[in-house]
């Protein structure tokens, strides 16, 4: 039960490399925040600073209003689940889970009771005497979770905890983590590079890039109103398509000659070059081409069952676009395909800076 506040948190390593440039964020009690971004974006550094495993170069970190910058990890009342679980190989499951309590001086009987209670909660009660070596990947993952839960910390920190599991188990554990976190009502910060994992878990998402926060918001908010080209391309799968375009008197002209109406409120002047973003699911196949459609040729077809992904080449363009079509559609490589971008779902970005040109309230 805690709130976290990060105020201009920065990290500069002794070799001069700055991994984090002044991160501001407030995390509410009981919230599950997922920090997502490509590798090297600073998300792990941020998590490790919250944990107290990396020192804070400047800025302030407070848990429940108390400044914790200079506290040891154990004094911050946090628990962490590591990517490779970091279970103590020579201790039994019960000892692994109880080690923090033992260090806190909790009497043996109470320790035993708490460990057993937690083990029941996450279905480990039959494995308490095993060593980590004797467990499957999923079971180890559970032990790591149990080790965090048993201490009843103020904050859970997760460092890509599912990345070592196979795909099926990952989905299952994802649901379980969500369920447990809600049930226990503990504030949690979860770091991942997997945007699907991020979308499905998060109360709020934090997208990071190059040591900065690009955008914070609910998953759907980030999906609908990406603040930058980076966020737009990172959230959503397959990734958003981008087409260079020119704005003239309220109309966007694409290099292929297509004209699209510009929606009100976009902060762009007539004559500007813009970057048009349209998600694969917002390209609608139509029977006949006109000047509001894209005329394309199919280069590759990926049938997924319910949907079919068509990788298509826009006439006269080098890069491929992706369109998500109905799976019942019969298409083959080489087919001509007419695609109409949903005019309500167009995103505009500055071609150099990458920030969104849409007025915040216009796109829903």
């Amino acid at each position: 039960m805690a709130t976290l506040s990060l105020d201009a948190l920065s990290k500069t390593y002794p070799n001069g490399v700055t991994a984090l440039h002044g991160v501001d964020l407030t995390i509410d009690d009981g919230e599950l925040i997922v920090v997502v971004g490509p590798s090297g974006c600073g998300k792990s550094t941020l998590l490790r600073m919250l944990a107290g495993l990396e020192s804070i170069s400047s800025g302030e970190l407070a848990i429940d209003g108390r400044r914790v910058n200079d506290l040891e990890p154990a004094e911050r009342d946090i628990a962490m689940v590591f990517q490779n679980y970091a279970l103590y190989p020579h201790m039994s499951v019960a000892d692994n889970m109880g080690y923090a309590l033992k260090n806190q001086g909790v009497p043996r009987a109470e320790r035993r009771r708490k460990v057993e209670e937690t083990a029941r909660l996450i279905g480990l009660e039959d494995l308490l005497d095993r060593r980590p070596k004797q467990l499957s990947g999923g079971q180890r993952q559970r032990v790591a979770m149990g080790r965090a839960i048993v201490r009843e910390p103020k904050v859970f920190l997760f460092d890509e905890p599912l990345s070592n599991l196979d795909a099926k188990l990952r989905v299952q554990m994802r649901i379980e983590i969500r369920r447990l976190q809600k049930r226990l009502g503990v504030t949690a910060v979860y770091v991942t590079h997997d945007q699907v994992e991020a979308m499905t878990l998060a109360d709020r998402l934090v997208v990071m890039n190059g040591g900065h926060i690009e955008q914070v918001g609910t998953p759907m908010h980030l999906y609908d109103q990406p603040a930058s080209r980076f966020v737009a391309s990172f959230i959503g799968s397959p990734s958003m398509n981008f087409i260079e375009a020119r704005h003239a008197d309220g109309v966007l002209t694409l290099p292929c000659g297509t004209h699209l109406p510009l929606r009100d409120g976009a902060s762009t002047e007539s004559g500007d070059a813009v970057c048009l973003g349209v998600r694969p699911e917002h390209l609608v196949q139509v029977g006949q081409g006109d000047d509001t459609t894209l005329t394309t040729q199919v280069e590759l077809v990926e049938p997924l069952g319910a949907d079919t992904l068509a990788h298509v080449r826009l006439d006269g363009q080098a890069e491929l676009l992706v369109a998500r079509l109905n799976g019942a559609q019969q298409i083959a490589e080489g087919d001509r395909l007419y695609l109409r971008p949903d005019p309500e779902r167009l995103h505009l970005f500055d071609p150099q800076e990458g920030h969104s040109l849409a007025a915040p309230e216009t796109v829903s």
Partner: protein, 281 residues
């Protein structure tokens, strides 16, 4: 699967067995010699089969002062044991701590400490023998167990091996322990030492052999027979200007000098090989 040639296999086995026999020959002859009395040894070439004096020879050297030594071999065995155990345990003890500091802490002058310790790998005691002897003499360490043990601990082989092992410990274990509220001493006791068990065993074997088999240093520092080690005693027994070498006693003593280290290496072979091969990495 390999392309097998049964003929080559047979030749391999034969050559290996011949090598085994050749390598065992010196010890076989020693065992035989230790079972004869002096007169039956000196009847020509040394005999190839057992005599009947084995028990008497061993009982004699173990319980009665041996000529030219002034003490019995039991005492020598005791001294060698004290020295070997002292060196093995002492080295392991200081190495565990020093390697822990160097790998798991960041502090000013850490690199300097690293080099100060590891430069000792370069110079065996034989090279700086005179001044080391003088210092031992100044510190009143001649003819003492401390004098036998301490100077031989001053090499960083064990520290180096522990450092190599510590660097393979996943960093997350330390982080998990810190999150779990373990400070440096708890981490050492609860996590690192239990994980080091095999390495400690391996080093114990290597350092026990190193200690037991020392020659030059014990030769210099022990002038009294009360502190003499068994390995050093052999030369004294051999140096017979006046009369015949009592080979039966020399060989019995040599066998006793071999027995503890050979037993350690055979019983703890698994650890020994691991320790040796790790040292290379």
């Amino acid at each position: 699967m390999r392309y097998r040639r049964p003929g080559l296999d047979a030749i391999s086995h034969i050559l290996l067995i011949l090598a085994l026999l050749a390598f065992s020959l010196p010890v076989w002859l020693a065992i035989i010699a230790a079972t004869h009395d002096q007169s039956s040894l000196y009847t020509g070439t040394a005999p190839l089969w057992f005599g009947d004096q084995g028990l008497d020879n061993f009982r004699a050297i173990l319980s009665e002062p041996v000529a030219r030594l002034g003490t019995d071999v039991a005492r020598l065995l005791f001294n060698s044991t004290v020295m070997a155990l002292g060196i093995a345990c002492g080295k392991i003890f200081i190495a565990i701590l020093a390697a822990y500091a160097i790998v798991f802490f960041r502090f000013p002058l850490r690199r300097l400490c690293f080099w100060l310790i590891f430069i000792t790998l370069m110079l065996p005691v034989e090279v700086r023998i005179m001044p080391t002897y003088k210092i031992a003499a100044d510190l009143n360490l001649l003819n003492s167990y401390a004098g036998l043990i301490l100077p031989l601990i001053a090499s960083a082989t064990a520290t180096f091996l522990f450092r190599q092992f510590y660097m393979t410990v996943p960093p997350e274990l330390l982080e998990a322990a810190r999150v779990d509220g373990a400070g440096p001493w708890r981490f050492l006791r609860d996590i690192l030492l239990p994980l080091s068990k095999t390495n400690i065993a391996a080093l114990f074997v290597i350092m026990f052999l190193y200690g037991w088999n020392q020659y030059l240093w014990p030769l210099l520092i022990t002038t009294e027979s009360d502190y003499m080690t068994i390995v050093v005693s052999l030369k004294r027994m051999l140096s017979s200007a006046d009369n015949l070498v009592p080979w039966q006693a020399v060989m019995a003593t040599a066998l006793l000098a071999m027995l503890p280290p050979v037993a350690v290496i055979v019983l703890m072979q698994r650890y020994f090989v691991k320790g040796l091969v790790d040292a290379e990495k």
